[in-house]
């Protein structure tokens, strides 16, 4: 796993701590808010949101720590419930 000390993934938020102590967090509400601002069909809006979250992880933790290419993020929001999936690979 590229340079993560911890990850907390719930249906409400994601919190990450990189090996050097830098942190990242995003909430379901923030994801929903970004999703609402996107254009296109549902699939396009979701893809844009996933790209946005992954880019924010890279920005917060550093490209040399947790780059987009080693991060898998997915989510679903149904009837006010949420499911978030975050996977990291070692490259």
């Amino acid at each position: 796993v590229p340079n993560l000390r911890s990850a907390e993934v719930t249906n409400q938020s994601i919190s990450l701590v990189a090996s050097d102590g830098r942190t990242f967090s995003v909430t379901k509400a923030e994801i929903q808010a970004f999703l609402a601002t996107q254009g296109g069909n549902a699939a396009a809006r979701k893809a844009a949101t996933i790209t946005w979250v992954k880019a924010n992880i890279q920005t917060a933790l550093g490209a040399e720590q947790c780059p987009v290419g080693l991060t898998t993020f997915d989510f679903s929001v149904t009837d006010n419930a949420a499911a978030m999936l975050l996977e990291m690979l070692s490259g």
Partner: protein, 661 residues
């Protein structure tokens, strides 16, 4: 034994893992050995795991990619038994399809399940570490034994064993899971038995000194433990051309890393990246021992810091089984076969799987004030007790320890009562003891070392007793108004070093009993008082150097070597008595106005007076000094030789006694 992976999560992060899903943390709160362990605590209906694989020949993390029998040993501790049946370990494919997986019921019953499910292997309780020995053969017999108990078997699914998933891989189980893992070894030939992983950190430069273009040129660039690594804050760096020398570092000793028992295997660990994606470099890890290098094949790593590993089942130096001595000469580092762009290495270490002692570490950091630690007993073995930053008003009562105790930065107003350290290779370090600390009744048995550095003023050391053995006591930088009462050192090769004793410090009743005792009291400042300093039997040596003005030495009685260099004016030596034996008295440069009262020398013919042979050209006793009651009991000196120095202040009755000889 062909080891595939060693990890105790001592990297402090997840860089030894192949992947992760959901909630996990490498943390230092709940651990079995070392500094860190893995915690996976996914909420209900969520996944949370870290997946472990192998170190490829290149040094990169890789899938295990086996179907043949593979042996997985790891330790497991549940913070709480889950409220429903859930998986907590999976051996499976890269997409987490299980060959076999461990499951636990709400009653704590553990089974191993693949194509079939085993009988209950054991019933676990929360808060206890258990050793799991799990052997997995794809499409054949798999087995699990816990803490060496009876193995229960099942049939594994016909899938690849790519990874060992620690934690939960599925989201379908509606129960929270909170489980910790530590000390993992995967290999192809058999279980290693009980063991633990210790990390050896760099402590110096090694044989190869390239990669000198980073943030510095010492091991400090790669000894990160923040925890984890510090990314680009500190690193060693190879330039993009011509820097193929490589860089290796010596490692801390096996003893300091608490390596104990049989050493099964060692893993060199490093965190490396390229500075750019232009071109292709070949960079790998290097182990060196003796004159033998073992390298990974290396590859282009890309611009992301990633963990690399190199497994060493045997010592490169000779190829035999690992020993602690072999570990102590091991170097770890990096090399560059081909360089197309600059390379950075931010962390290097060695991970060691050893049998250990079965006694876990105790670490108490940042103990807050008003904490009371009562009746803490640590029994013998490779035990390390670290108590750092103990706050004021903490009380440590009846601390009994058999191994290594380090107490750093003890705040003022602390009380250490009845600390007993029993025999063995024990080191007690009490550093930076703040003012008003009381150390009472500290008794140290043989073959130990006590270092009390930077004892602040108003500290009181009562009844410090050191019994026989090769004991060293160092009391350095004792500040003003410190009181050391009843310091008693009994026979044996005992050395007492008290350096830089500040003014108005009081040392009461310092008694050194027979044996090869050496006392060095250096740089005793003005108005220091040494009461009743008694050294009764041969082979004792006292060095009192640079005794400042107005220092008072009361009633020192000595039998062997007395060396007082540069006794300043106004120093007063009362009742200084030297009794028979091979005595050498050296009083260098006693300045004017120094007063020696009742200086009795009862020594025999073996007495030597250096720089104080009265009446000889090398006498350094200056004019104006008063030698009162100078008594020599043996015919070493003649009255005639005394006359040039003694003046009217000399007590005539005492001189008459001298003249009788």
């Amino acid at each position: 034994m062909a080891t595939i992976l060693i990890t105790g999560f001592e990297a402090g992060d997840a860089t030894e893992a192949v992947g992760s899903t959901g909630t996990f943390s490498v943390q230092g709160t709940t651990k079995r050995t070392g500094q860190y362990a893995l915690q996976c605590n996914p909420a209900s209906s969520t996944a949370g795991n870290l997946s472990l694989g192998a170190w490829a020949a290149t040094g990169a993390t890789a899938n295990i990619a086996r179907t043949l029998e593979t042996f997985y040993t790891f330790y497991v501790r549940f913070a709480a038994i889950p409220s429903g049946t859930t998986e907590f370990v999976v051996c499976g494919t890269a997409s987490a399809s299980p060959v076999a997986r461990c499951r636990i019921t709400s009653g704590g019953a553990v089974t191993l399940a693949g194509a079939t499910t085993s009988a209950t292997v054991a019933t676990l309780v929360s808060g206890t570490w258990y050793r799991f020995d799990m052997r997995v053969t794809s499409n054949s017999t798999c087995g699990l034994a816990i803490d060496g108990g009876t193995e229960q078997t099942c049939t594994g699914n016909n899938l690849n064993q790519d990874r060992l998933y620690l934690g939960r891989t599925v989201t379908s189980e509606a129960f929270a899971l909170d489980v910790c893992f530590d000390d993992v070894l995967i290999n192809t030939t058999g279980f290693p038995g009980a063991g633990e992983v210790r990390r050896l950190d760099p402590d110096g430069n090694g044989n190869y000194t390239g990669w000198a273009s980073g943030t510095g040129v010492t091991f400090a660039e790669v000894d990160d433990d923040v925890p984890g690594h510090d990314s680009d804050t500190t690193y060693v760096k190879a330039l993009d051309t011509g820097d193929n020398t490589g860089r290796t570092f010596s490692l801390e000793s096996s003893a300091s890393a608490s390596v104990a028992g049989t050493i099964t295997a060692v893993s060199i660990y490093g965190v490396v990246r390229s500075e750019s994606i232009t071109g292709t470099s070949v960079v790998g890890l290097r182990a060196r021992n003796g004159s033998t290098d073992i390298d990974t094949s290396g590859q282009e790593w890309g611009t992301v810091y990633l963990g690399k590993g190199l497994i060493l089942d045997t010592d490169p130096n000779g190829g035999g089984a690992w020993t602690s001595g072999g570990l102590d000469t091991l170097e770890a580092g990096v090399f560059a076969g081909t360089l197309a762009q600059a390379q950075r290495c931010t962390k290097v270490a060695a991970m060691v799987w050893c049998a250990g002692t079965g006694v876990q570490d105790v670490s108490m950091n940042t103990i807050a004030s008003t904490t009371a630690l009562n009746n803490m007993t640590i029994t013998p073995g490779a035990v390390a007790v670290g108590m750092n930053t103990i706050s004021p008003a903490t009380v440590l009562n009846n601390l009994s320890v058999a191994y290594n105790v380090s107490m750093d930065t003890i705040a003022s107003a602390l009380q250490l009562h009845s600390m007993a350290v029993t025999p063995g290779s024990v080191a007690v370090g009490l550093n930076s003891i703040a003012a008003a600390t009381s150390v009472n009744d500290m008794a140290i048995a043989s073959v130990q070392s006590i270092v009390l550095d930077v004892i602040a003023s108003t500290t009181a050391l009562h009844e410090l007793t050191v019994s026989p053995g090769a004991v060293t006591i160092e009391l350095n930088a004792i500040a003003a108004t410190t009181s050391v009462n009843n310091l008693t050192v009994t026979p044996g090769t005992v050395a007492v070093v008290m350096e830089t004793i500040a003014s108005v410090a009081a040392l009461h009743e310092l008694t050194i009993t027979p044996g090869a005792v050496e006392i060095a009291l250096n740089y005793i400042d003005p108005v220091t008082a040494l009461y009743e300093l008694t050294i009764p039997l041969p082979a004792a040596s006292i060095g009192l150097e640079t005794i400042a003005a107005t220092t008072t030495l009361y009633e020192p009685t000595v039998l062997y070597v007395v060396d007082m260099g540069t006794v300043d004016p106004a120093t007063t030596l009362y009742d200084f008595e030297v009794t028979p034996g091979a005595v050498n008295i050296d009083l260098d440069t006693i300045l004017a106005d120094g007063t020696l009262y009742a200086f009795h020398i009862n020594a025999g013919p073996g007495v030597h007076f250096t720089d104080m042979v009265v009446g000889q050209p090398q006498v350094s006793i200056l004019n104006g000094q008063a030698l009162l009651s100078w008594l020599v009991m043996q015919p070493v000196l003649s009255a005639q030789s005394l006359h040039p120095v003694l003046d009217a202040d000399v007590d005539q009755a005492e001189l008459d006694v001298v003249n009788e000889h």
